[in-house]
Every structure is written in structure tokens, then in C-alpha cells.
């Protein structure tokens, strides 16, 4: 499923929340308003009742049905929403007073108040009565029924007031709430996406900047500029970190390519200049022979370098790792030691292998041979002349087999040690070829070891010499 846009999600959520809050608040306000409206009707009815009672005591029973004081008490003639009033004595068939409005004829219910609402003497009851009935029902009357002892009998007075106006007011209020609530929700729906866009503007800007980044501008101009909100800072620094790592990788690759180009061009330049110099003028046969030998030497050097570059390229293509087979490491090391010892004796040096019994590792025999050839080559090249190179094989406990190639060479500065496995690394940036190495031997060794899940380390000490320690998984 396609993920919803964050704007849509948030606007919907915020709008729904606004709607819910407004609904709850409106409902509460509506109920409160309704109660207060009804209370105010009851209060009015109470005042009317008290007025009538006072009038009855002071003025006596109304003589005519149209006595002004009573009319006034019900508000007739002063307000459209006048109350209605009926006064009668218990047991008497005729009313003492009946107000009747031509606008709202006295409700039938007022003439026959429901018996269950009849209050005790000296008390009141408040109740709703319907004005009219059936479909033409025009509203509700709020009525107050008071019964008091009066002139030896019991006087009843019933005052009623239409509450339809209150309900009309309530209706208006409800409409107002709906309009306000609805428009607030709509405004939220419209505003929230804008707010989100505004909030996301730094991401949008960063996106624009990210689009500009190429492998050339990873490190510096590529950095996401500008301040971002606190919430986005971890994201920003993670992104910056990633860009830096990529930049480093690209730079390493570029450096490697540049170094490889340099390493290949130099012997080419020498060969070309040798041949061109040779051709500049006629020479003696001996001079030509010397020149050819010279160039052949450079061809050898280049052949070696190209071989190493190819090995490295093959190792880099990690999807082509050959299946590991069981290799007798002790046999391999012994045969290598023999070969190198023959060679070393010519220079007055020695290569010694200490036999530690049969040891098997997982790997590829050709690669392992290349690995230890490179290490022995380095030991011979950089160790002291006439020194002894020792190969020890330790089949300790645990899953590892440890091989150590040790020479009596002087100390390698500690700051140089971590770089020794870098491609084309030489302590001196001149890449001088006085030593004859290509600067790839240890890099190849490391790739071989890492590919088989092992590790390789180098230690150097002026007293004890230099050791390269290789750990490979035991078969």
C-alpha cells in the first residue's frame, strides 16, 4: 500500500481532534445553557407565584377575571412571552382568576393539570406541560403549581410560561456552535498542511541540497547547510556522517586509482625514455644490449605490479570468493620456508619454520600461498641483511590457528603501523622504488585474510623485531 502523505495524515488527525474537542465543548456548553435557561424560567415563575400570593393577601380575591394587578403579574401586555395564570380554590368549580391570551389560548392542560403533579399544601411543584397536542404542538409550557391555605380553604395557583422561546434560543445557540465548530475544523484542514509544509521546510531544503551532491562534492559543499530544528539534528548529523564516510571511501578509491596510475606510468616512462634515448643516435652493440636488459628489468617490475593489481581486483570482487577447502597449513608453510630459505641464503639470511604438527585451515591454497609469500617477501626485503626470519604456527585452543612471521627488522614507527595495510602505502610519500616493493603486498595479504574471516596484525619493537600475526579459522 502506498504510504499516506504526512500532510494528509496529520491534517486528518488534527481536524478529527479539533472536531472532537469542539463537539465535546459545544455539548457541554449547550447543556449548561439549556439548564440556565430553564432555571431562569423557574425563577420567573417563582417571582410570579410570590407576587400572586402577596396580591391575594393584600388585595384579596380578584373581583373580576380581568383585574389589572393579576394581569400585570403575568406580564400580559408588556411582553409577548407573557405567562399565564389560573387561580382557584379547592372544591370550587369556578376559577378565581384566569388569564387567557388571545395569542396563546390557555392550554387545555392548564385547565386540567395532571393530578400526579399536585403539590402538598404550602408547597410548590414545577413541571412541564405540553401546549396543544398532536402534530400542531407548538411548544412546551413550564408550569408552577402552588397550593396554600387561604381564607379557610386552600387556594391553588398555577402559573405557566412558554419555554418555546428558550428552546428557540437554544436552537440558535446550537446553530452558532455548529457554524463555529465546523469552520474551525475547516480552517484546521486548510491550515495544518500549510503548517506542516512550513515545519518541513528544512527537510525540503535539505532535499534540494542532497540533489546537488555528486561524488565530487560529498565532503565539503555537500554538507547540509543551514540550521535545522532540534528534532532534525540527529537526522542531519547522521546524514553528514554518512556523507563523510562516503567521501572518505570515494577519496580512498580516487587515491588508489591515482596511485595505480602513477605506479604504472613510472615504469612506462622509464622504458619509453630508455628506448628513445637508445634510438637517438647510432650506438655500439654492447650499448643496445645494455639498453634492452634495462628495459626488460622494467618490464618485469611492471608485470609484477599488474599481477598484484589484478589479484587485488579479483579479491575486491567479493562475490567471486572460491569455496573454502581444507588446506594443510603446516605443509604449505614448510614448503614456502624451504623455497625462501634457498633464496635467502644467497643474501646471507635464513628462513626457519618451526614444525608444530599437522594443522588444517579453511581457505584457498593459491591465495594462502600468495598471502605468506607476500609476508616472507616483505620480511626479506625490509628485515636486516643476514637476519633470521622465523615462521611459527600455533594451533591453540579455540577456533583460531595463529601464524607468526617474524623478522629482526628495526622498529616501524607506531604512527605508521595502522597504515601498512593501506594500498600503495609507503612511509615516505616519494614512492621510491629503491626497496623494489609495489606497496600492495600487505594490502593483498589483508584482503585474503579478511575474506576467509580471519585477521592480520603487525607489531614492531626495536628490541624484538617485527612480527606479522595472521589468524585463520581452523578447519
Amino acid at each position: 500500500m502506498k504510504p499516506l502523505s504526512i500532510r494528509l495524515q496529520l491534517s486528518l488527525a488534527v481536524s478529527l481532534l479539533t472536531l472532537a474537542v469542539i463537539t465535546v465543548l459545544s455539548a457541554a456548553a449547550y447543556i449548561e445553557f439549556e439548564e440556565s435557561l430553564l432555571r431562569s424560567i423557574d425563577t420567573t415563575l417563582g417571582y410570579m407565584g410570590e407576587g400572586i400570593w402577596a396580591e391575594l393577601i393584600e388585595e384579596g380575591v380578584p373581583q373580576t377575571n380581568r383585574e389589572a394587578a393579576f394581569w400585570a403579574l403575568t406580564g400580559r401586555g408588556t411582553t409577548k412571552h407573557a405567562g399565564q395564570c389560573r387561580i382557584w380554590m379547592d372544591g370550587s368549580p369556578n376559577d378565581l382568576f384566569t388569564s387567557d391570551s388571545p395569542v396563546t389560548p390557555l392550554a387545555r392542560e392548564l385547565l386540567h393539570p395532571p393530578a400526579e403533579e399536585q403539590p402538598d399544601v404550602n408547597s410548590i411543584s414545577l413541571f412541564d406541560i405540553s401546549e396543544g397536542s398532536g402534530p400542531d404542538r407548538r411548544g412546551v409550557l413550564r408550569a408552577m403549581w402552588v397550593r396554600r391555605a387561604y381564607h379557610g380553604g386552600i387556594v391553588n395557583f398555577l402559573v405557566a410560561r412558554s419555554s418555546s422561546y428558550a428552546y428557540h434560543e437554544l436552537g440558535e445557540f446550537l446553530r452558532l456552535l455548529l457554524v463555529v465548530g465546523g469552520s474551525t475544523t475547516l480552517v484546521a484542514l486548510f491550515l495544518v498542511p500549510k503548517l506542516i509544509s512550513w515545519g518541513l521546510r528544512s527537510i525540503t531544503r535539505a532535499g534540494g541540497q542532497l540533489e546537488q551532491i555528486t561524488h565530487r562534492s560529498l565532503g565539503h559543499e555537500g554538507r547540509i547547510m543551514g540550521s535545522v530544528p532540534v528534532e532534525l539534528q540527529p537526522f542531519q548529523s547522521a546524514l553528514d556522517g554518512m556523507l563523510l564516510r562516503l567521501d572518505k571511501a570515494v577519496r580512498r578509491q580516487e587515491q588508489f586509482t591515482a596511485d595505480a596510475a602513477h605506479e604504472l606510468r613510472t615504469p612506462l616512462a622509464i622504458m619509453k625514455s630508455s628506448l628513445q634515448t637508445l634510438r637517438m643516435q647510432p650506438r655500439r652493440a654492447a650499448e643496445y644490449e645494455e639498453g634492452v636488459d634495462d628495459v626488460l628489468q622494467d618490464v618485469d617490475r611492471m608485470e609484477h605490479l599488474v599481477g598484484q593489481l589484478l589479484t587485488l581486483a579479483r579479491l575486491d570482487a567479493t562475490d567471486k570468493v572460491s569455496d573454502p577447502v581444507e588446506v594443510r597449513l603446516d605443509v604449505l608453510l614448510e614448503s614456502l620456508a624451504e623455497t625462501f630459505d634457498d633464496h635467502a641464503r644467497g643474501q646471507g639470511a635464513r628462513v626457519v619454520y618451526t614444525n608444530g604438527g599437522a594443522v588444517c585451515v579453511e581457505g584457498d591454497e593459491i591465495e594462502l600461498r600468495q598471502l605468506f609469500t607476500n609476508l616472507l617477501d616483505n620480511a626479506l626485503r625490509y628485515g636486516p641483511p643476514k637476519g633470521v626470519i622465523r615462521i611459527t604456527l600455533e594451533d591453540g585452543q579455540g577456533p583460531w590457528v595463529t601464524t607468526c612471521v617474524h623478522d629482526e627488522g628495526g622498529a616501524i614507527p607506531p604512527e605508521v603501523l595502522p597504515h601498512l595495510f593501506d594500498r600503495f602505502y609507503r612511509a615516505d610519500p616519494s614512492r621510491s622504488h629503491a626497496s623494489g616493493g609495489t606497496g600492495l603486498g600487505l594490502a593483498i595479504a589483508r584482503e585474503i585474510v579478511l575474506q576467509r574471516g580471519g585477521d592480520i596484525a603487525i607489531t614492531s619493537d626495536p628490541q624484538t623485531g617485527t612480527s606479522v600475526i595472521v589468524r585463520l579459522p581452523r578447519k
Partner: protein, 226 residues
């Protein structure tokens, strides 16, 4: 003329030196590390320096910077495996006069070297003429009134230097510094000996061009005034 090659690939330096010596009359010194190269470049009045960039101890651009800081006007040709436009621009902007990338054509290198030297002496024309004397610095052929003079290597070297600086007084010390490489064994009156040989070869009947001795200062080559 005297050239310094600062290049850590010994074989390459040797090849360049050989090519320069065989096709020009220049004396050539070789330095195979940056520190020694800088010292030599600063202490001898070279007419040209061929400079590698990646050198042991002191880098090529650093050597170049030291030279220019010291006010040296020696032409510098950078010879390096760094071949990106950026590298070339940086090399030229650091005060070098020319830039060649490895692998290069040795004939082109020598031709560029000669061109740079000609510019230094403000002689864009490879053939320098003084009166009836004509010295072709590219083919090293000297003619006087149309007749070819046969000069030995050192004699030509001396004549070329004097001719390039025709009209100026050239001191003995300058001649020694510009004509001999570091390893040459010189003795004090060697210059006088060569001067007299060249004078003799120039003196064919009525003299056209003379090498005049300016007492206490040196020599000057000029048209003979009759």
C-alpha cells in the same frame, strides 16, 4: 648552459641526462631526493631545472616554492605522473614554466628544455647571429661567413654561452658555473685556454667577430670594429 634534474627514479634521471647531453651542449646535474635537490637548486645558477613532484624528503612543489621565494628566476619544467588538469594548473600556478606528464616523449622534453633556455636569454630565434657569425643552438652548427666552423663540445658550449649573452660582459666565474656540471674537474685557467682556442677559430683573415677581454671583469663577444 647547466641543467639540474631532480628525479627520484634514478634510471629515468639518467636517461633524461643522457638525452640532454647527447642533443645539446648543456652540462647536467642529477639529484635523486628532494632535500639534496633543493640545496643544489638554491646554491648553483642553473639555466633550467627539470623537477619531479613526488620526491623523498621534500616535495617538488615545495622546492619550487623555495626557489621562487628566494627570488630565483630559473625556468622550471615539472615532470610528473600526476596528469589531471588540476595538477597541471597547480603546478603552473606555483611558479613553474612548463609541465610534462609521464610517460613522455624524450625528444619533446629536450626540445622544451631548449625552448625554455632560449627564453631565459631572450633569444626566441634558435639561430643567433653576430655579424657574419651564425650559431644554430638547435643543431649546434656554427658558421662564419657561410663556412662551417668545427668546434669541440666544450668550445661550442663556451661559444654558445657567450653568444647568447652577446653584448654583455660575462665573468669567468659565470662561465665556470654555467658550463660545468658538479662533478667536472676544473682548473683555474681552463677558461683562458678555451677562450684562446675559440678566438683562434673565429680569426679567419680579417676578424669579423671578436671575444674581447675586459680587464678584471670578464669577456664580451661582439662585432669587430674596424
Amino acid at each position: 648552459m647547466r641543467v639540474l634534474i631532480i628525479e627520484d627514479e634514478v634510471k629515468l634521471a639518467r636517461n633524461i641526462a643522457k638525452a640532454i647531453k647527447e642533443t645539446t651542449s648543456y652540462a647536467v646535474d642529477i639529484s635523486s631526493d628532494g632535500e639534496d635537490g633543493r640545496h643544489q637548486a638554491l646554491s648553483n645558477p642553473y639555466d633550467l631545472i627539470v623537477l619531479d613532484l613526488m620526491l623523498p624528503k621534500v616535495g617538488g612543489l615545495e622546492i619550487l616554492a623555495s626557489l621562487r621565494r628566494e627570488g630565483s628566476r630559473v625556468p622550471v619544467l615539472i615532470l610528473t605522473a600526476r596528469d589531471t588538469t588540476q595538477d597541471i594548473v597547480r603546478g603552473l600556478n606555483s611558479g613553474s614554466d612548463d609541465y610534462m606528464t609521464k610517460p613522455f616523449d624524450i625528444g619533446e622534453l629536450v626540445a622544451r628544455c631548449k625552448a625554455l633556455v632560449r627564453r631565459t636569454y631572450d633569444r626566441p630565434d634558435p639561430v643567433v647571429r653576430i655579424g657574419a657569425l651564425s650559431v644554430d643552438t638547435s643543431s649546434r652548427i656554427v658558421t662564419l661567413r657561410g663556412h662551417r666552423l668545427s668546434l669541440r663540445a666544450m668550445e661550442y658550449r663556451l661559444l654558445e654561452y657567450l653568444v647568447l649573452r652577446a653584448g654583455q660582459i660575462v665573468s669567468k666565474a659565470e662561465i665556470l658555473e654555467h658550463l660545468y656540471d658538479f662533478n667536472a674537474e676544473t682548473f683555474s685557467n681552463v677558461i683562458e685556454v678555451y677562450i684562446s682556442v675559440v678566438r683562434k677559430k673565429l680569426d679567419v683573415g680579417s676578424p669579423d667577430v671578436v671575444i674581447r677581454t675586459v680587464r678584471g671583469q670578464g669577456y664580451v663577444i661582439e662585432e669587430a670594429t674596424t
